[in-house]
Each structure stands twice: as C-alpha cells, then as structure tokens.
C-alpha cells in the first residue's frame, strides 16, 4: 500500500489557487522532505494529507483513504506545526496524557523522557511557552504519537541550533527503531539533507521535483570559467543560474545532464566543474537566485524581464 498518493490535487482559496494539480506518491516507511519557498503550497498540501483541509479537485489518499473527514486517517496520522492549539485548561503533562489516550501507538515513556530532557515543567501551560519551546513540545507529541504518517510542518521554528540538532537526532533514532512514514517540511534543507531519503519540491503550487536524496545531491553542477571557454552546446542546456564574475568570467549552475564527452571538453577548455549541494540546488532550482527577480537585480535596478534564463518546468 502506498502511504500517500496524490492525483491532480488542486486547492483553491476563493480565487487564489494554492495547488495546481499536484500528483505524486510516497512509499511507506520513508523520511521525505517537502521543500518549497514561502507560499509554494507546502502547508496546504500537508493539511490536505491530514484531512484538515479538503482538496478542491483531484484526489489525495493516505493509506488508501481520502483524508478529509476520515477517522482512520486521523487516527493514523499526525500533523505537527507551530500553530498547534491545545486547550489552555490542560497542563503540558495532561496534554501528553491526552495524546496517550488518543494514539494507539503512543509511546509514553519516550514522551516523558523527551519532556524531561528538554526541561519542561509538568504544570506548565502550552500557551505560556516560548516559540522554540512550543515547537519542541509539539515535536515531542509528533514523535511519541508514532503515527504511521507523521507530518512535521516547519517543526524547528524558533528552536535554537542545539535543540534543532537534538530534534533531528531524536527523529532519526526513533525512525530507525520504529520505521514509519515521516514527511518533513523545512526551511533548513542543509540541516536535514542527511536525514531525508526523498525530497519533494513545490513551486508556486506545482510539483517541481520528486526524487531521491541521492539524485538531488547530484542534480546540479556548477560550471565556472572564462566566457570564451564555454562551448557552443552550453546554450541548449538548462541554466538554473548564471552569474558574471567580472567582464571575462562567469559561473553557470546547470542541470547535471552533462555527458562524459561534454565534461571532458569543458575540462580541456579549463572550465571548472564543481558539485552543488542539495540545498543549494534547491535554492537555484526554485529560482531564488534566478535572473528574474533575483535580489541582486533588485538592488542593481535593472530587472532583466522576459528574456534570458528561465527555469524550465520539469
């Protein structure tokens, strides 16, 4: 059974479309990252998967069930974000007790151990926690629930570096001991690169890429050298990013589909080839550093509209 299956999932909020027909599927028991820039539709997609939102069109399935209004999906999945709302009349410890009552796989020992490790006060209240503490507490619930589908939406908001590190370690350890499907959306892709098995990249409500982390790491390549050293065939390649270094040299980030022959030629021309990390590839790919709308262009005042490098749709 596929853990998650999406067919042409579309979500509209009034006139605004947050997701344009996203299709993908996820195998069980994997850690998958969901990346995308702000407003790419990550949260919308995750909320549809846990049944908090209803897709406007298309079909989302979690373990073969449509998530919206589905008790089975709700019992087997959990959605953790920094907006979680718990009754203020309950203390932190009582909230964990409630979790134990509701989730059949709940590991209360793990919950209490993490609770103590991160120094929570049993009589504390959720609404009195700082942003980082709140995220940490929510993370404990997400881990302890041992839900078949565990979704973390920006789980590290407000956490300091040490806690983030602890969280990733805890996540990995618990995942290895009790494999389950974990979906993780984060801004800090560089931190979770080694944790993830697959990555899904969303851009402006579209699925840009769904690939294994291995492929992602070799997805892009950086080519830098003198302008005249660039062979003619380079023009036909997909440029993710291009940066001029002075009048004579430039660096081009392009999709790594260079053949061995092409690589040889580049090397002969004295052009340097270097690897691009997954997180950098993500940044280039989602157009953060692209010609159009690139921050440098904003400051230099000439926005190179329309022409030139454009990220090709994948």
């Amino acid at each position: 059974m596929k853990a998650v299956q999406c067919k042409e999932v579309t979500k509209k909020y009034g006139r605004r479309t947050a997701l344009h027909g996203v299709s993908f599927s996820m195998e069980e028991n994997k850690i998958i990252g969901l990346a995308g820039r702000n407003g790419a539709g990550k949260t919308t997609l995750l909320k549809i998967l846990t049944g908090l939102l209803k897709e406007s069109d298309g079909e989302a399935e979690v373990y073969g069930n449509r998530p919206f209004n589905n008790l089975l999906v709700s019992a087997n999945s959990i959605y953790i974000d920094d907006q979680m709302n718990f009754p203020t009349s309950l203390t932190l410890k009582e909230i964990l007790e409630e979790g134990r009552r509701f989730y059949h796989n709940w590991d209360h020992t793990l919950a209490m151990n993490l609770f103590d490790y991160f120094g929570f006060h049993p009589k504390g209240h959720h609404n009195e926690l700082s942003k980082g503490k709140e995220s940490t507490f929510n993370m404990i619930i997400g881990l302890a629930s041992r839900s078949a589908l565990t979704i973390f939406d920006e789980p590290t908001t407000g956490m300091d570096a040490a806690v983030r590190k602890d969280f990733y370690r805890a996540l990995l350890k618990d995942y290895l001991a009790y494999p389950r499907t974990i979906l993780l959306s984060t801004h800090h892709l560089e931190e979770v690169e080694d944790l993830l098995e697959e990555i899904i990249v969303l851009q402006k409500g579209n699925l840009l890429l769904h690939t294994s982390m291995e492929d992602m790491k070799s997805y892009a390549v950086a080519v830098s050298g003198r302008n005249e050293s660039m062979p003619e065939w380079m023009k036909h390649k997909v440029f993710l990013y291009e940066e001029k270094q002075g009048p004579y040299e430039k660096t081009i980030i392009l999709e790594n589909d260079l053949t061995t022959v092409e690589k040889e030629e580049l090397k002969r021309n004295g052009v340097q080839l270097s690897a691009v990390s997954a997180s950098d590839a993500f940044v280039y790919m989602t157009g953060e550093a692209n010609g159009k709308g690139g921050l440098d262009d904003v400051f230099s005042g000439h926005i190179n509209s329309g022409s030139g490098q454009k990220t090709s749709q994948l």
């Binding site: 203020t88 009349s89 209240h125 609404n127």
Partner: protein, 234 residues
C-alpha cells in the same frame, strides 16, 4: 415585541458574563482546574442550602383545592349578615376574637367610632333584657388567607368605656409582610393544579363585626349611621 426586549437585555448580560469568563479562558483565567473546583464548591453550597432551608421557619401554603373550600365556607356564612339578623348563635365560635364587658348605669350610651379606613368593621347593637347595668361587646373576625395561608397576626379594635361614652377605635393597621416562594416554571408546567394560576393576587379577605349588647332601656346616642341597631322583631 414587548416580550423580546427583556429577553434581549438578559441575553446581553449572560453573554457578557459568559464571554468574560469563558472567553478569557483562552488566555489566563480559568486555567487548570478552577472550573471543577468552582462547580464542586457550588454544589456543596447548594446542598448546604438545601439542608439549611429545611430548618428555616417556613410554612407551605395550602394548595388550590383547600383554598377553594375555605372560600366556599365563608360564602356560606356571612358574619355581619347573621348578626344583623340576630342570629349571633349561628356565627362560628372560632371567629370570636375578643369579648369586653363594661359597667353602664341608667344613662344614655354615647357611641363613638374611630375607624381609620373606610371599610372598618360594622358595629351592631342589640338591646336585650338579659343585661342590667352593663354592656357586653364582642368582636368577630373570620381569617384572612394569603395564597391559602391563614394570616396569623391578630387584630382587635380597641373598646374604651369612659363615663357613658363607649369608644370603638380601629387604628394602627396591622402590617403583615410575607416572603412567598413559588415554584419555578418547569415545575408548574405539568402540574394540573397550576391551571390558570396567577401569581400575586390570592389574598382572600375575611369578614368582621363588632357586636354590642346593651340593656334594653338604654338610649343610644351615636353619630349618623355609625351603628346598626338589631331589630329583634326582624
């Protein structure tokens, strides 16, 4: 729409209270177990009140059925009418509140009556051969019922004999104050007794009369129409 206005005002009051206590619960107040403690405390308070209220001096008024029998009895026998007809013997002895006896020589009797409010007791005088040298007076009053409950506070007119003047004064009205508890609407809705029950208009007044017997030959000097002379012939 007249019914609606107080309801809307009420709704506002309740809403404001509810919002200020429940609403703020999302923030600070009412956190933790306050609600449970308050509820527990409140029930203890209610229970204590329930027990205490059984020890309070209180009386349960008669139900409607009994009330109607009271009124029937009274309508049967009208005290002033009986006395006026000379049938004093037929007046219920229970209604006799007080008796007086005064010396009276062979003088004319002057009767003065001070009645504060208009509907004071009627004064009936009977000349009788049974008495010589004295007069006898008695005051009859049938009970007043408030919501079927007999008013306990007694009232008697003052009769004073000075020389040959008998003064009947009815003053200092008796103030009676009741705290009446009625059943709440859910508890009256299904009880057959409550058909057409109206609150607050269930005082049933009794009747009263001052009956004075004087020696046969006594001449009575009174103000116009302040007494009724019982005609033995009638």
């Amino acid at each position: 729409m007249m019914v609606l206005l107080p309801i809307l005002i009420l709704a506002l009051v309740v809403a404001v209270t509810a919002f200020s206590s429940i609403g703020t619960m999302k923030m600070r107040l009412g956190q933790g177990k306050t609600g449970l403690w308050m509820l527990g405390g409140y029930f203890v308070l209610l229970l204590v009140s329930m027990i205490v209220s059984t020890f309070l001096p209180s009386e349960t008024t008669a139900s409607m059925n009994e009330e109607s029998t009271h009124s029937k009895k009274r309508s049967e026998i009208s005290i002033p009418m009986l006395i006026a007809e000379g049938k004093v013997d037929e007046v219920n002895k229970d209604t006799l509140v007080k008796e007086w006896s005064f010396e009276l020589q062979d003088h004319p009797l002057t009767l003065e009556a001070y009645v504060e409010n208009e509907g004071g007791p009627g004064i009936f005088i009977e000349k009788t051969s049974d008495l010589t040298g004295k007069i006898q007076a008695s005051y009859y009053r049938s009970p007043i019922y408030v919501d079927g409950l007999k008013v306990q506070e007694e009232f008697k007119p003052t009769l004073v004999m000075n020389q040959q003047t008998l003064t009947v004064s009815v003053e200092n009205p008796v103030d009676v104050h009741y705290q009446m508890f009625t059943s709440e609407f859910p508890f009256t809705q299904f009880s057959q007794n409550s058909v057409g029950r109206e609150r607050g208009s269930r005082i049933e007044w009794g009747e009263e009369a001052v009956y004075i017997r004087v020696p046969e030959e006594t001449e009575i000097i009174g103000e116009n129409g302040n007494y009724t002379l019982i005609d033995p012939a009638a």
